[in-house]
Symmetry: C2
Subunit: 226 residues, 2 copies
C-alpha cells in the first residue's frame, strides 16, 4: 500500500520505518521540506536530527504534506495533536477525500506543564474534529493508546498479546486499518464503534501517563481481558 | 478486619457479600435504615429489593452510615459518586479520622443521558475531593475501573490475571488495601502514586463504557502488559 505518514517526530518516524519494513511504499511528510532537511540539532524529543535519521532509512522519502497526501492510498496523521488540523489542511481536503485517514494523534495541551491536559474531551474528540473538518475522508482513530515503539512493533511486548482499538464511521476503512494493524503484529483489535468513541481512547491518556510514571517506562500496553 | 461498606446498590452489595465470604466482619450501611428496610420493589438497577437481598445474606448487618463508620476499622465508599460527599459527611469526619477510606466510586453525571459524563476531571477527581473534605482519613482510590462482580471476584476472569490500581497519599493505607485486594483474588496491583493519580483512573471510565458497549458485557478488565 502507498502510505503517507504526516509528521517527522518520534511517532511519525517509528511508524514510517515500520510500515516500510513490512513491505509498504512509504513517504514521510513534513510541512516544509527544506526546513526539515536543514535541521542540525536534536529535535524536541532529543532524537537525532531528521536528516541524520533519514540517511539511516534509505527506503523512505521526505515530501511535503500536499504532495505526499496526493500520491498516497492511505494517510497517517502522526503530527502533534495541536497542529493536526492545520497539517491536514495543508495536505489538502481534496487529497484526503475518499481515502482512509488514520489518526494516531492525541489532543495534548502542554501549556500548563506536566502532566499535559486534553484540549478536547468528553463532548468532543480530536478524531471527531478531524472527521468534521474533512468529511470526505474516512477517519479511523487508532494506536493513540500506546507509545510509538509499541504501536509499530507490538510483538516486542508479550508477543503482541495486548489490545488496540479502532473508532470510525466507515466499516470498510476500519477493515483496511485492522489489516494494517495485523501486518504490524497486533493480535487483538477491538472495534469500539463510530468516531465518537474516539472520546474514550483519548480520555484514556491521563491514565496512560500515570501508568508510565508508575512503571518508569512507556513500553507497556493494556490487554482487554474478557 | 471490621469493614463498613457504605452503599446498598450493586457495588455495595457485591463487595459486602464478598468481604464477608473471605472472612471479614462486614456491616453494610445506608443513609436511612428504616427506609432501606421498607423497600419492596426492585432497586434502580433492577436488582431485588434490599430486604430480600439482606435475608439471603444472614452474615451481613445493616446499619446507618454513622454507626457503621464508628465501629469499622476500614470504610469502603460504594455510594453513587454524586452522593458520596454527603454520605461520608453523615458517616462523620470523626468516625473516618485515622482510618483507611477505600473509595471505589466514580464521578458519573447521568443528567445528560447515556453515556454519562464526569462531573469532575483532569484538574481534580472525586478521590481528591473526598481526601480534601476528610483530611484525617487515609483515602485510597481503587477498583473503580471495573464492574462490581469483577472487583469482588477477579478470579472469575482469566484466573485474576488483570490489573487493579491504587492511588493515595498514605503508603501504609495503600499496603492495607493491597492486602485486602489480594484477599479477594487480585493478582496485579499497580500503585500509581498519590491521590491526584485518581484523575487517571476516573478518566478511564469513558473508555470503559465504550469497551462495555463493544463487548456487550461488563465482565472484562484491563491488564497492564509490560
Amino acid at each position: 500500500m502507498r502510505i503517507a505518514v504526516l509528521g517527522t517526530g518520534p511517532v511519525g518516524r517509528t511508524l514510517a520505518a515500520r510500515f516500510a519494513a513490512v513491505g509498504h511504499q512509504v513517504v514521510i511528510d513534513t510541512r516544509d521540506v527544506a526546513a526539515t532537511l536543514a535541521q542540525t540539532g536534536p529535535d524536541a524529543w532529543g532524537d537525532s536530527p531528521f536528516p541524520v535519521w533519514l540517511d539511516e532509512h534509505p527506503d523512505l522519502e521526505l515530501h511535503d504534506f500536499t504532495n505526499a497526501a496526493a500520491a498516497a492510498e492511505l494517510i497517517v496523521n502522526a503530527t502533534n495533536g495541536a497542529a493536526s488540523l492545520s497539517a491536514l489542511a495543508q495536505a489538502g481536503a481534496g487529497n484526503l477525500a475518499g481515502k482512509v485517514l488514520v489518526d494516531v494523534s492525541n489532543p495534548l495541551d502542554f501549556s500548563g506543564g506536566m502532566p499535559p491536559t486534553l484540549f478536547t474531551k468528553e463532548t468532543d474528540s480530536l478524531g471527531e474534529q478531524i472527521q468534521r473538518a474533512f468529511p470526505a475522508a474516512k477517519v479511523v482513530k487508532t494506536l493513540n493508546t500506546m507509545t510509538a515503539a509499541v504501536q509499530a512493533d507490538p510483538g516486542q511486548l508479550a508477543g503482541g498479546d495486548h489490545t488496540v482499538f479502532v473508532s470510525g464511521d466507515d466499516p470498510g476503512a476500519k477493515a483496511v486499518v485492522t489489516d494494517l494493524l495485523t501486518s504490524l503484529g497486533h493480535t487483538d483489535v477491538i472495534d469500539l464503534g463510530d468516531i465518537t468513541t474516539a472520546r474514550g481512547v483519548e480520555m484514556y491518556l491521563p491514565l496512560w501517563l500515570r501508568v508510565w510514571g508508575a512503571l518508569g517506562t512507556p513500553i507497556f500496553n493494556i490487554k482487554v481481558v474478557r
